[in-house]
């Protein structure tokens, strides 16, 4: 690119750099693992 004739050299120091902050990846939603129900007893023959 042709930026034309140089006018001046400046120091630009933003208080906060204009770089967005990456959003953290969402954690998969997990709940407590349900306890396994006991197998129903087979009826006695």
């Amino acid at each position: 690119m042709d930026i034309g004739e140089t006018k001046r050299i400046i120091e630009v120091e933003p208080v906060v750099e204009p770089v967005p902050v990456a959003m953290p990846e969402a954690e998969p939603v997990t709940g407590p693992v349900p306890a396994r129900l006991p197998e129903p007893a087979l009826p006695a023959r």
Binding site: M1, D2, I3, G4, E5, T6, K7, R8, I9, I10, E11, V12, E13, P14, V15, E17, P18, V19, P20, V21, A22, M23
Partner: protein
Amino acid sequence: MKSPDSPAAIRAYRAWSVRDTPSGLRLRSIWFPDDKVWTPFARFEARCNVCLLRRFRHRAPKDGHTCGIYAMKSGADLFGWAVDNTPPGGRPVVVGEVWCWGTVIEGTLGYRAQYAYPASLLGVWFAPPADEARYLAQLSSAYGTEPGAATGLDWAADHGWGDTAVGA
């Protein structure tokens, strides 16, 4: 200690080329095809490639050199430059606004900056219309930039760009 000349980053216009990486689409320099891509969520820092080849390192940009991250003051001037200078071959060119800061050399038409980050992506030249929306969506998401304004390309619309797949 010298106080800064400006406490606010400069917003200007810039064009990028695109590289398809395993992580997705990324922005990179038009004129340095082997140059590294712009890392999302990290400032891009200029370097003087000519002096690096001579094993001499200095902070870019430097007065009297051509190093620095280039940006134009107006979209119309960026378009005028791109018409004459974009390499042929049908590779898409992404245009948008860019934040510039650090040491900045101001010219009559634009800037050469030490640091930069995309502010908003406005359009894609040399890409089929179907690809334009996909490129903008993927790149804006990757870099966390503001949604591009649909009116941002008014200065290029009259020239028939946007759906010109050169050599495609």
